[in-house]
C-alpha cells in the first residue's frame, strides 16, 4: 500500500527543495567570498622582475586559483554546517527520516558544488576581462588568457567534481563529530599526525585525485569516493535520537 522507495525519494526531494530555498543565503555568502578572492587576485598572484641595467623585465602572473581555493574551503564548511544541530533541526517539522535528511543534504551539496564551480569559473572570466580592460593589451602575454568554450565547460565539470568530493569529506567529518564532540579534537589530531608520519602515503592518495588526466576515469574515482563518504555518513546517523 505504501510505496516505500517512491515515498523516500519523493519526501527527500521535497526536503531538498525546502533546503534549497532555506539555505539560499549560503550561496550569497559564496559570491561574497569569491568577490573578496577576486580583489586579492587582481594584484597578481606572483611577481617577478629582473633587469641588467639597460633592460628591465617585470612579470606579473594572474590566476583565478585563489577564487577556486576559497570556493573549495567554502564547500567544505557547508558540508560540515549541514550536519550541525542547528541545520538538522529544520527537518523536524517536516516529514523526515534520517535517510531522507541525508539524501536532501547530499542533493543540496551537489547543487551548491555546481553553483560554486560555475561561479568561480565565471569569476575567472571576469578577472580576465578586468585585466584586459585595465592593461595596455600589448603587455599581456596570451598564455591561457583566452579560454575556449570547451575548456570553460571542462573547467566547470572538473571544479564541480572536486567540490562534490570536498563537500562529501566535510559532511563525513561533520557526521562523525555529531557522534561525540571529542572528535572535534581527535579528527584534526589524527589528520595532522598522519600527515607527518605517512607523508608519502598521503601524497599518493592526493595524486590519485589530482594527477588523473582522463576525465571519465577521474569522474569515476570521484563518484566512487563520494558514494563511500556519503554512505558512511548516512550509516552513522540512523540510530541518533533527536536532541533539542
Amino acid at each position: 500500500m505504501f510505496l516505500k522507495e517512491a515515498d523516500l525519494l519523493s519526501f527527500s526531494f521535497k526536503q531538498f527543495v525546502y533546503k534549497l530555498k532555506a539555505h539560499s543565503n549560503l550561496l550569497y555568502g559564496l559570491m561574497l567570498i569569491q568577490i573578496i578572492a577576486l580583489f586579492f587576485s587582481i594584484g597578481g598572484v606572483s611577481h617577478m622582475s629582473s633587469s641588467n641595467g639597460e633592460l628591465s623585465v617585470s612579470v606579473n602572473t594572474y590566476s583565478a586559483s585563489l577564487v577556486i581555493g576559497f570556493s573549495f574551503i567554502w564547500i567544505f564548511f557547508i558540508g560540515i554546517l549541514l550536519t550541525t544541530k542547528q541545520y538538522k533541526k529544520i527537518e523536524l517539522p517536516l516529514v523526515t527520516s534520517s535517510l531522507s535528511g541525508n539524501l536532501s543534504d547530499i542533493g543540496f551539496l551537489m547543487i551548491a558544488s555546481i553553483f560554486g564551480s560555475i561561479t568561480s569559473t565565471l569569476v575567472g572570466v571576469l578577472q580576465r576581462i578586468i585585466l584586459y580592460i585595465s592593461f595596455d593589451q600589448t603587455q599581456i602575454i596570451f598564455d591561457k588568457f583566452l579560454i575556449s568554450f570547451y575548456d570553460l565547460v571542462l573547467g566547470i565539470v572538473i571544479g564541480t567534481l572536486y567540490m562534490i568530493l570536498i563537500s562529501a569529506l566535510g559532511y563525513l567529518i561533520g557526521s562523525i563529530t555529531k557522534l561525540s564532540m571529542a572528535f572535534v579534537l581527535i579528527i584534526p589530531a589524527i589528520i595532522f599526525g598522519f600527515l607527518r608520519v605517512y607523508t608519502d602515503f598521503f601524497q599518493k592518495v592526493l595524486l590519485v585525485y589530482t594527477k588523473e588526466a582522463a576525465l571519465p576515469l577521474f569522474a569515476l574515482k570521484v563518484l566512487i569516493t563520494v558514494i563511500i563518504l556519503f554512505g558512511v555518513s548516512s550509516l552513522l546517523s540512523p540510530n541518533k535520537e533527536v536532541s533539542q
Binding site: D7, F11, K14, H23, S24, L92, P93, L94, L99
Partner: protein, 300 residues
C-alpha cells in the same frame, strides 16, 4: 483500531526513569489529553510517540509501526512543540506554503485564515516571534496539517487567555469537521477538559489512569466532617487523599464506587458529601505525599 499501542514502555535517562513500564492504547479519532505535573514524563512520552526518541525497553507502535526514524510514521504524525525551528530565510507565510507539500491533508486556507485571525504579522521570520505568538503559530501548523495523528506538547504555553480559548475552539471545530487522533499535553486540566474525550494521567512516568473525561468526573467523591464518623465509613478502604483540615475534622477523597452503597447513611450521619473536580482529582492522584502542602507547614 488502535492508533497508538504501548507495551511496557520504559525510557530512562541514565538512572532516572522518565517513563516507567507504561502500557496503554489510544483508539482512532480520539481527542486525548495527556495530563501530568512538571516532570511527569509527558514530553518524553510524546517524543517517543513522535519517533524522536527510542524506548529503552518495551514496544511502541504508532499506526502498527515503530515510530523511531520512520518516514511513513513521520508523514502521518505532526508533533507540535515549542522547539520547532524554521529557517530564518522564511517568513511565516513562506513557512506555511513550504511546509504544505509535505502533508497530504494540509488545509492552506485554514492556515492562512488562522494566521490572519490571530493577527500575527506574516512577514516576519519565525525566530523573531514572541513566546506566545510562536506557540500560536506552531499550533496553527498543527491544526492545518490535519495529520492522522497530531500531537501538541503544551501548546498554549505563553499564549494569553483569549488566544488560548480561541485555540481550543479552533482545535475542537477542526477536529469535529475532520476527525483525527489528537493528543494534547497539559498540566492545566480544567482548561482542557471541556474539549477532551479521554484523559491519560501520568505520574512520575507511570500511568495513573486512562479514562473518558465523563467517567473521570464521577470517579471520586469527597467526605468532610467529624473524623471519628468518617473513620467508621472509610475503615479499610483505599483513600486517594486525606487531610485534617481542623482538629478532629477530616476531609477524605476516595473512589465513588467504594462508598456508593452507603452514601445515604453517610449523609444521615451529618457528613458533607462533595463532588471532586477533575483538576483536584488529578492533583490528589499525583500528589507526592499524602497530606499536601499543609504537611510541610505542620512539621516546620
Amino acid at each position: 483500531m488502535s492508533v497508538i499501542q504501548c507495551q511496557n514502555v520504559t525510557r530512562s535517562y541514565g538512572k532516572l526513569k522518565a517513563i516507567d513500564n507504561l502500557s496503554f492504547a489510544i483508539e482512532e479519532n480520539k481527542l486525548t489529553g495527556l495530563i501530568g505535573r512538571n516532570g511527569a514524563g509527558k514530553t518524553t512520552l510524546l517524543k517517543l510517540l513522535a519517533g524522536y526518541l527510542k524506548p529503552t525497553s518495551g514496544e511502541i507502535e504508532v499506526f502498527s509501526q515503530k515510530p523511531f526514524n520512520n518516514l511513513e510514521g513521520s508523514s502521518k504524525t505532526m508533533f507540535v512543540n515549542d522547539t520547532m525551528t524554521f529557517p530564518d530565510s522564511f517568513t511565516l507565510i513562506d513557512i506555511l506554503s513550504e511546509v504544505a507539500p509535505f502533508y497530504a491533508n494540509w488545509n492552506s486556507n485554514l492556515a492562512k485564515g488562522l494566521l490572519d485571525y490571530f493577527s500575527i504579522n506574516p512577514k516576519q521570520p519565525h525566530s523573531k516571534l514572541s513566546k506566545g505568538s510562536k506557540s500560536t503559530f506552531n499550533s496553527i501548523l498543527g491544526i492545518a496539517s490535519r495529520c492522522p495523528l497530531t500531537i501538541f506538547d503544551e501548546p498554549t504555553s505563553g499564549m494569553d487567555s483569549a488566544v488560548r480559548k480561541d485555540f481550543y475552539k479552533a482545535l475542537l471545530k477542526d477536529y469535529l469537521e475532520y476527525p483525527r487522533s489528537i493528543i494534547l499535553s497539559s498540566h492545566l486540566i480544567n482548561e482542557v477538559e471541556g474539549i477532551l474525550e479521554d484523559i491519560l494521567l501520568l505520574n512520575q512516568g507511570v500511568k495513573s489512569l486512562h479514562l473518558p473525561v465523563l467517567e473521570l468526573k464521577k470517579f471520586a467523591i469527597g467526605l468532610r466532617g467529624n473524623a471519628q464518623v468518617i473513620q467508621r465509613f472509610v475503615e479499610g478502604k483505599e483513600l486517594i487523599y486525606q487531610e485534617e483540615f481542623a482538629k478532629g475534622y477530616l476531609y477524605v477523597v476516595l473512589r465513588s464506587e467504594l462508598i456508593q452503597p452507603e452514601l445515604k447513611l453517610v449523609r444521615q450521619s451529618g457528613l458533607d458529601v462533595l463532588s471532586i473536580s477533575t483538576d483536584d482529582l488529578c492533583i490528589y492522584l499525583t500528589a507526592k505525599s499524602r497530606g499536601g502542602i499543609d504537611y510541610v507547614f505542620k512539621r516546620s
